[in-house]
């Protein structure tokens, strides 16, 4: 029997989407913030695309990050025609809690001083929890290069924060 039609969607359950949002929403916003100053809008659009395509959010986590990155870069280019920004963002990147072992504002400032390629890997690894295998295509480098950038980023941050 010949199959003449095919399902192009995997279907998505509400609980899966909710769980995905709990886990990744803030991280995606932080990631988009690396390039543009309307990160929530970018993430909203990307997630809407995910829903419309009926893709499984868990199996397509890396895809969502790719879409967010592309949209954020595109927005930055359209809106300023300047180098994609991160250092000019006045919005706080992290919630400031008195119990934090590291000062949120200082961490943001030092992250902003890092090279974009290094900062991107740090954000994806530390806050999004992606593996180097998932980070490599996003950062457009090899897995080992992603690892190297991560280690270098940590060292630079520690030095900047006087923790060496």
């Amino acid at each position: 029997m010949k199959t003449l039609s095919r399902r192009y969607s995997l279907g998505m359950k509400l609980e899966e989407l909710q769980h995905f949002l709990e886990q990744h929403e803030k991280c995606l916003v932080l990631y988009a913030r690396q390039w543009c100053n309307t990160p929530e809008d970018v993430v909203q659009e990307a997630l809407m695309e995910l829903v419309r395509k009926q893709l499984d959010p868990v199996q397509n986590t890396a895809w969502v990050y790719v879409v967010v990155r592309n949209k954020a870069v595109s927005v930055a280019r359209r809106s300023t025609k300047q180098k994609p920004m991160a250092g000019q963002d006045c919005e706080p990147w992290f919630e400031s809690n008195t119990g934090d072992a590291i000062d949120a504002h200082a961490a943001q400032l030092h992250l902003q001083e890092l090279d974009e390629s290094i900062r991107e890997v740090l954000v994806l690894k530390l806050w999004s929890g992606l593996s180097f295998e998932e980070i490599a295509p996003l950062a457009q480098c090899s897995k080992s290069e992603a690892h190297r950038r991560y280690q270098q980023g940590l060292e630079l941050l520690r030095k900047k924060m006087g923790l060496l």
Partner: protein, 128 residues
């Protein structure tokens, strides 16, 4: 030592004004109501041959060839485009924009169709 530093850093919580989750959940509900199958070009041809009393409206690469008779029903066949299939939503948007199809019928093919009678049966559900 790096591990400790990593843990401290990752403990920082990224800020975010919440995105509009209601809009996402609403869209999810809308998507799940829609048929999610495509009709192949072969099936389109088969329907055209077996149901000649219908005027066919074919959709190819978002170009719409409308029915020559405005009073006749139009059958809309969805075809996959290259690597990425179009969704019903995409087409609906196009149709809403044109707003010139008098009678629109979306046809959803069964997962398995092998004879013309299967096709007719399938279609009759949408055209009684």
């Amino acid at each position: 030592m790096n591990n400790d530093f990593e843990n401290k850093l990752s403990a920082l919580t990224p800020t975010s004004q919440s995105i509009n989750r209601d809009a996402l959940f609403f869209e999810l509900g809308e998507q799940q109501k829609k048929p999610n199958r495509l009709v192949s070009a072969f099936l389109a041809g088969a329907i055209a041959a077996s149901v000649p009393w219908l005027l066919l409206t074919q959709v190819k690469s978002q170009k719409i060839e409308t029915s020559p008779s405005p009073s006749a029903p139009s059958l809309v066949l969805l075809e996959p485009a290259k690597s990425e299939p179009y969704s019903f939503l995409t087409y609906r948007k196009v149709f809403e924009a044109t707003n010139d199809l008098p009678s629109l019928h979306y046809v959803e093919a069964s997962a398995q169709v092998e004879t013309l009678s299967d096709i007719q049966k399938e279609f009759s559900l949408y055209h009684q």
